[in-house]
């Protein structure tokens, strides 16, 4: 087991290097850099000062040299500083000579995005699994048919459109929920619990939307998994030896049908992180998606690279955790991993 874990962790290094190389090349082969966006804000910027800026950021060197420099810094986990945002550290907080602490950009954005995703996953699990079970147990009858229709609509509904509609309906028309940002005005005067409630209220819509759009796939998956398991021999055996139907379904069938879900959740991480861009920019939530979108528009290379690297590392770790959890839950897989 330990050997397997070490092997997997070891493999992550070349994968991450590959990921960062590809991201770096894509970014640098495309036209434009920070100097072209800064210049557009300040038309007086001369070609000479732009050149100076390029030298300062090493943008005048060949791409492969720049990548080497980036990789060298990364080997000490130094993500560098933002070009655009007042030299803020990209990843983690830093204390300068005067003792002022500057928060890292990813350090501030990541927990928000993670919170949204964890809560919407919880929402998905608590709704999708019962739906999938009902659907499988009433196969081709009315409940199954209606759930299937719901699932197909859930697949097809554009998340940003749903966001817009719900934002209008709950925020503008009825004024039930706040529609943008993370905190209300004056929220810092509230108690600890009050502040949490305020943030949760702001996150309610984004969570609801990513939950609703993610529901469909999972519930269809549970349905098909259940149907497949219910046709297995051991279910017949369980029924034949006279176990009550509930025990057969919830103890024998469900556990096996839910196992592959672990892998599905592991695989859905890049989609969830990537999907945060649109929701966060609609609701003006300062998470990873919004940070990335702004960085891309400013061609803020260190921030873009930092987010792509962290996002990919999270994906790899997520997959590893999913595989380990699967091995832990399923003895058949465990034997394969151990050997």
């Amino acid at each position: 087991m330990l050997k397997y874990l070490l092997k997997r962790l070891f493999w992550m290094v070349p994968l991450l290097v590959g990921i960062s190389l590809i991201s770096f090349l894509i970014m640098h082969l495309a036209p434009g850099d920070i100097t072209s966006t800064e210049a557009s804000f300040n038309p007086k910027t001369s070609e000479e000062s732009r050149q100076k800026l390029r030298e300062l950021y090493n943008l005048d060197k060949p791409v492969i040299v720049q990548y080497g420099l980036w990789l060298k810094r990364m080997s000490t986990l130094d993500f560098g500083h933002s070009f655009a945002s007042h030299q803020s550290p990209v990843f983690w907080e830093e204390t300068d000579a005067e003792g002022n602490v500057k928060k890292g950009m990813i350090q501030e954005a990541l927990p928000i995005t993670l919170l949204i995703n964890v809560l919407s996953l919880a929402l998905i699990i608590s709704i999708a699994i019962p739906l999938g079970i009902i659907s499988a147990l009433t196969q081709n009858r009315l409940p199954d048919r209606s759930i299937t229709i719901f699932v197909f609509i859930g697949f097809a509904i554009p998340g940003f459109w749903l966001a817009l509609m719900l934002m209008y309906w709950t925020g503008v028309a009825h004024n039930w929920l706040p529609i943008s940002g993370l905190h209300s005005l004056g929220a810092d005067k509230l108690s600890m619990i009050g502040q949490w409630m305020d943030t949760l209220k702001h996150l309610a819509l984004p969570i609801l939307i990513s939950g609703l759009t993610g529901l469909a796939g999972i519930s269809l998956f549970v349905r098909n998994g259940m149907l497949e398991v219910l046709h297995q021999d051991y279910i017949n055996t369980a029924r034949a030896k006279g176990l009550p139907e509930n025990t057969v379904i919830y103890r024998h069938a469900l556990r096996n049908a839910l196992l592959p879900l672990i892998t599905i959740f592991g695989l859905s991480i890049p989609g969830l992180i990537g999907g945060s861009v649109i929701a966060e920019s609609i609701f003006a939530i300062p998470g990873m998606g919004k940070l990335f979108y702004d960085a891309v528009l400013m061609r803020d290379f260190p921030v873009i690279m930092g987010i792509l690297t962290i996002g990919s590392a999270l994906t790899l770790i997520g997959n590893l955790v999913a595989d380990l959890a699967y091995a832990w839950a399923d003895p058949r897989v465990r034997r394969g991993v151990m050997s």
């Binding site: 097809a156 459109w161 890049p270 990537g274 994906t315 790899l316």
Partner: protein, 274 residues
């Protein structure tokens, strides 16, 4: 073909896609107004007999813009999937047929591409290019071929060991004959299903990009950018946001229904169970 029309899912999907494609193809004949014609006397009119989907902030007829937007959305979806399917078939066939180090190399590359959050990757590329529908098609195509590659490789690996392929090989068939005569035709079903489903997600991605302002640019109409305009007027012109969203939903639904229906109809394993 008969199996497809007998499958209710596939049939429903086919009808939806057929209707929308017809509207897109004949947009110039169906559209009652010029989609780009600005009319200052008809700004933000609610749906009526004259303007069945109302007008936008510049007095343009929304129904006409929706029809021309359908062209863009379908075109982007289909061309992008064409690109990704082609890349996927070529790489998957090479990996699955030759195996060995080429296979390892290609599959590691697939792993790398799959580990980068997809929408970030698309955004990182698209923001550096001048936004145009051609660039969007290419970028969506270049960032969504990984699934097809894995699929084709898996099909090739399993088909290679089958008797009819071994027999042909024993009879001295060349690589290209084996690939194009035996392996590829027998892998077509899953490829077709995955490309139909691929169009659905490409349409969603395109509308998302256009919504963020990084996709199809004004004045050219796309469902995504009509929706962006709609966002500005959401408090007093609901029709601007409602119709483009519904159009995207119905189109994506159509492709998903067709894809799942085809899978059911063409895959003997699942169709028996029903």
């Amino acid at each position: 073909m008969k199996r497809i029309t007998q499958n209710p899912l596939a049939l429903a999907g086919l009808i939806i896609i057929g209707l929308i494609s017809l509207m897109a193809i004949f947009a110039s004949w169906i559209a009652p107004f010029d989609p780009d014609a600005i009319d200052v006397k008809a700004i933000l009119l609610a749906p009526s007999w004259e303007h069945i989907m109302g007008t936008d902030g510049l007095g343009r007829d929304v129904w006409s813009r929706m029809l021309f937007g359908a062209r863009i959305s379908l075109l982007v979806g289909i061309v992008a999937v064409g690109i990704s399917t082609l890349i996927g078939i070529v790489l998957g066939a090479i990996a699955g047929y030759y195996r060995g180090w080429v296979d390892t190399l290609i599959m590691r590359f697939v792993d790398i591409m799959l580990s980068i959050p997809t929408f970030f990757l698309i955004l990182a590329v698209i923001a550096f290019l001048t936004p145009s529908i051609w660039n969007i098609m290419i970028v969506i195509g270049l960032t969504s071929w990984m699934g097809v590659t894995r699929l084709v490789r898996a099909e090739f690996l399993s088909l290679r060991g089958r008797e009819f392929v071994l027999a042909s090989q024993t009879l001295g068939a060349k690589d290209y004959r084996l690939i194009f005569k035996h392996l590829l035709p027998n892998s077509l079903t899953p490829i077709i299903v995955s490309s139909v489903l691929g169009v659905a997600s490409a349409v969603l991605v395109e509308s998302g990009l256009s919504f963020l302002g990084l996709g199809v640019q004004a004045p050219q109409a796309s469902w995504g950018n009509i929706l962006t305009d709609g966002k500005e007027y959401i408090e007093f012109a609901w029709w601007l946001s409602l119709f483009p969203g519904l159009a995207i939903l119905i189109t994506v639904l159509g492709y998903n229904l067709l894809g799942e229906g085809l899978r059911d109809a063409l895959d003997p394993r699942t169709s028996n169970r029903k």
